[in-house]
């Protein structure tokens, strides 16, 4: 199958680590006689190259979290995949997340594919000491005897400037920042090739945020892993991501290398996101976008951004714009940019 996404692979020579192709995932609910589909992920294609940090940006409830949950195969009914594929390439082998046995999938988790959750109180089991989490998550994947395993874990913690004493603590005994750094240590202890980070710094205060971001960058440099980095915070993308995709109401609307995106965004929504960043010395008021993010249960027809778009044309409410390449590494889905031919 010739995939749209493959055409945009940054380096055609090496296999991208992640290929998402025309992925659709909906929440289908039936309750007290009301059946509805919430199109949380609607026809999204993207690739992440080896060693690349791919940023996903978008407002809350734009479907970012559903997108990454679908990508890592962590969906639970009523969210289900309607169409499309998610394929990972680890050490020369290809894995289709939705076409493999559960135990196989379980075997690649953490070894190759790991996940950093939003830094909340509840990411680590509150009633068990942290060492148990390390044991449960990593021991089976590392194939070491116990003593070597714990040596390795302690080494890893020290390398990340964490006191190995955290292993004997309960999650509630650690501060928010410590907890998040421990979670990151847990996610990286098996040196995975692909790491998904979902708003890893959102719940932290600014100083801690900077530490955690620096830590993530270091890890990426050390391990050479690919990252799928999700946050609504554009300033974080500016410092961390190599490439950024903008998600609006379940769809990808623009994607480009970070410098290109911040200097020459084309989609009116991206332009708005970039323009709303504070700049030193700039005292003009930030314009806020009129209207609210659309309901995914009942999205606007055509381009989902058109009710809030300053450039909206007739066609925008009728046709869905497709992702079109402006340059090999810059894609956008907007009739105002690509001309009014769908």
């Amino acid at each position: 199958m010739q995939t749209e996404a493959l055409l945009h692979a940054p380096e055609a020579a090496t296999q991208p680590t992640l290929v998402v192709d025309r992925l659709k995932a909906y929440y289908t609910t039936k309750a007290f006689g009301i059946d509805r589909d919430i199109r949380a992920v609607d026809d999204i294609s993207l690739t992440v190259a080896k060693g690349e940090i791919y940023g996903v940006a978008g407002e809350s409830s734009s479907g970012k979290t559903s997108l990454i949950k679908t990508i890592v195969g962590a969906i639970r009914p009523p969210l289900h995949v309607v169409d499309g594929t998610v394929r990972f390439n680890f050490s020369g082998q290809s894995y289709d997340i939705y076409d493999m046995k559960p135990d196989k999938l379980q075997a690649i988790r953490w070894r190759h594919l790991s996940y950093i959750m939003q830094g909340s109180m509840n990411v680590l089991n509150p009633v068990r000491r942290i060492k148990h989490s390390f044991y449960d998550f990593a021991f089976a994947h590392m194939g070491l005897d116990r003593a070597t395993f714990w040596d390795k874990v302690r080494d890893h913690l020290r390398r990340l400037d964490l006191d190995p004493g955290v292993l004997d603590s309960y999650p509630h005994q650690l501060s928010g920042g410590m907890r998040q750094r421990t979670t990151i240590a847990l996610a990286t202890v098996c040196t995975p090739e692909f790491i998904v980070a979902d708003e890893p710094t959102t719940a932290l205060d600014v100083i801690v945020q900077r530490d955690v971001l620096a830590m993530l960058r270091d890890i990426q440099r050390d391990l050479g892993s690919s990252f799928l980095f999700v946050t609504h915070d554009m300033s974080v993308h500016a410092t961390v991501s190599d490439r950024v995709g903008i998600v609006y109401a379940g769809r990808l609307v623009e994607e480009a290398d970070t410098p290109t995106l911040f200097r020459g965004a084309r989609h009116p929504y991206t332009q708005h996101l970039v323009a709303s960043l504070p700049k030193i010395g700039d005292t003009t008021r930030r314009a806020s976008l009129p209207g609210r993010p659309p309901s995914l249960a009942d999205p606007p027809s055509g381009c989902r951004f058109h009710p809030r778009c300053p450039l909206a044309m007739d066609i925008c409410s009728r046709e869905v714009p497709t992702m079109t390449n402006l340059t090999p590494r810059h894609r956008v889905a907007c009739f105002a940019v690509t001309g009014a031919t769908p």
Binding site: V72, A74, R76, L105, Q106, A107, I108, R109, W110, R111, S114, Y115, M117, Q118, S120, N122, V123, L124, N125, P126, V127, R128, H132, S133, D136, F137, A138, A140, H141, Y170, H172, Q173, L186
Partner: protein, 334 residues
Amino acid sequence: MAAYMIFVARRFGQLLLVVFLGISATFFISHMTPVDPVAESITAITNFGKSDPEAIDLMRKTLTELYGLQGNLFEQYVTFWSRLIRGDFGPSLSAFPTPVSQIIFRALPWTVGLMISATLISFLLGNTLGALAGYYRKSRILKILSLGLIGLQPIPYYVLAFILLILFGFVWPVLPITGGYEMNADLTLSFTLVLDIVRHSILPAMALVLVGAGSWLTGMRALTSNIVTEDYVTFAELGGVGSTRILRSYVVRNAIVPQLTGLAMSLGAIFNGTVITEIVFGYPGIGTLLINAVHAGDYSLVLGLASLSIIGVAIAVFLIDILSPLLDPRIKAE
């Protein structure tokens, strides 16, 4: 640890309050009677033939003292408490002059044994099935099992025990339906005796388990289906942690503390059920003793049983209450 001690102290205060309220209620209920217990008892005794007026007068005096009925209401209340603290409930009327406390302590092991084993079985069974049903939501076997147990849950203990009695006493008589052991059993400790006691406890225990397990199941299933959406479960799933491990160490481990609190709160109801079930099967515990005491008009025995039930249940509640936080490190260190 200091926080835990404060917690224990507060629970202990609650224990004292329960005992105070319960015992006071017992006292005032027993004193609002339009019937004079002394006169009642005398009638009961004189029914057997003796009716010497002088003897009756003496008897009245003795009984009034034995029942702690001299003086005004407040004095009687004080007497009641002071006797209670000494564990002295007076002599039983129906088994005169055996002290009430002795009769009660003879029946107590039966009730405690039946209650602990039945509660343990129904708690384990209900919680295990509930956790499985909440985690593996599609399993048909679990759905049918849950439906069965949940359907039995609203049926009163008496009615369910009665149905078992009919089923195993008349329809398919394979199990002993009455008593705690064979009538003429040799009561020295032996394997046969233990087997006999176990056989006699099967039906009462079954009644208690069948009624009790459903509510643990419902509670655990609801807790489980809430906990599986918690971040730490999702995270463990993403970490490739096996599902049995997730269920045991992540889901059940977190749900068990609220379930234990629930156990403490429903202990009074479970005690009621045990006592009622004993009555149906003529099991030689507190329940049967209570009914016999009522029929025999044994004032001090009824009062002693009511008081002791309240104290016993309150202490059990207290113990579960202070032990369950030990499973949750957050409360200990708070």
